[in-house]
């Protein structure tokens, strides 16, 4: 069935339009979906964009948010917060070495290896924390 694909009068955000056009182009070259279905899909996306939602974008955001949630478990393994240690400042687990100090040392040009050696902390622990933090921060802002 052929859709009546008249352009909506609503003009989507530029970035959304670009995303959808890229998606359209990508799907066009896919063997899995016949052209008609691609057009339906794209039209559906355009339509949904009229009410401010894009399922592909939402799925991407959800994927990022899920990773951010997963990273919390790793952060909890690597970091402890105890009112008895540095008055409750987050520290690497099993140490009195604050995570803010780790970041400050990195910002000052130190390497993880150098910090680990200087402060006698577990290099793997520090690296795991940093990876988890990077994943945790890589998420879209709430809308």
């Amino acid at each position: 069935m052929k859709h009546n694909t008249t352009w909506p009068v609503f003009v989507p955000q530029k970035q959304e339009a670009v995303d959808l056009l890229r998606l359209y182009a990508r799907l066009r070259h896919s063997d899995e979906l016949p052209d008609q279905r691609v057009e339906d899909r794209v039209w559906e996306d355009w339509s949904i964009s009229l009410v401010g939602s894009n399922p592909f974008r939402a799925a991407h955001d959800e994927w990022l948010a899920e990773r951010a949630r997963d990273s919390i478990f790793v952060l909890q393994e690597c970091v402890e917060v105890s009112p008895e240690k540095l008055g409750g400042v987050p520290v690497l687990r099993g140490t009195r070495f604050s995570v803010s100090q780790l970041l400050a040392e990195l910002a000052d040009g130190e390497t993880i290896n150098g910090i680990s050696d200087n402060y006698d902390i577990d290099e793997d622990l520090a690296a795991r924390f940093l990876h988890a933090l990077s994943v945790h921060l890589n998420k879209p802002a709430p809308r």
């Binding site: 540095l86 008055g87 100090q101 400050a104 000052d108 050696d117």
Partner: protein, 169 residues
């Protein structure tokens, strides 16, 4: 020679080696059994061995205050100036300390007992730890002429306060 213990994130081996290089104090890292210890454990270890404690964390100084009442051999907090969003690191600490020591040459002979001294690149605060929370005795700008005299007086007053009040009952 005065003994100095570095808190676990206060500069590490680099700062220890820098401090020992001058041969005016004997500086060391906390023993392994205190790794990950509480603020009060670190403060108590310092009190037990008569060590001046050096830290970069203001929260430590506040949290350890109960353990420092009447038995504080000295607490030295090095922190950035207010409004400076940088932290003190193993790289930046030696230069700030070097400047402080050159301005205050008798830093290692003044009495530190019962005192918490807070040093920033531009200010010096002195607190008395005979109470918890500690009481601020005074502060001065390091750009002011003769600030060292004020600090010396405050430190002496704090140290003598113990002798007058005697051991805690």
């Amino acid at each position: 020679m005065r003994t100095v213990q570095l808190d676990e994130n206060a500069g590490g081996k680099k700062l220890r080696d820098y401090c020992n290089g001058e041969q005016r104090v004997q500086c060391f890292l906390l023993p392994p059994r205190l790794k990950g210890g509480s603020d009060c454990q670190v403060a108590s270890f310092g009190a037990e061995h008569g060590n001046l404690t050096v830290t970069f964390d203001r929260t430590f100084a506040c949290a350890a205050a109960p353990a420092l009442v009447r038995c504080n051999p000295g607490l030295f907090l090095l922190r950035p100036d207010d409004g400076d969003v940088k932290q003190i690191t193993a790289k930046s600490a030696p230069s700030i300390l070097k400047q402080f020591k050159s301005e205050f040459p008798d830093w290692d002979t003044v009495p530190w007992r019962n005192s918490w001294i807070e040093v920033t690149p531009s200010l010096v605060y002195v607190y008395c730890t005979l109470s918890s929370p500690p009481a601020r005795v005074g502060f001065c700008k390091r750009s002011d002429l003769g600030w060292q005299d004020s600090v010396r007086i405050w430190l002496n007053t704090n140290a003598q306060a113990t002798a007058l009040s005697g051991p805690e009952s």
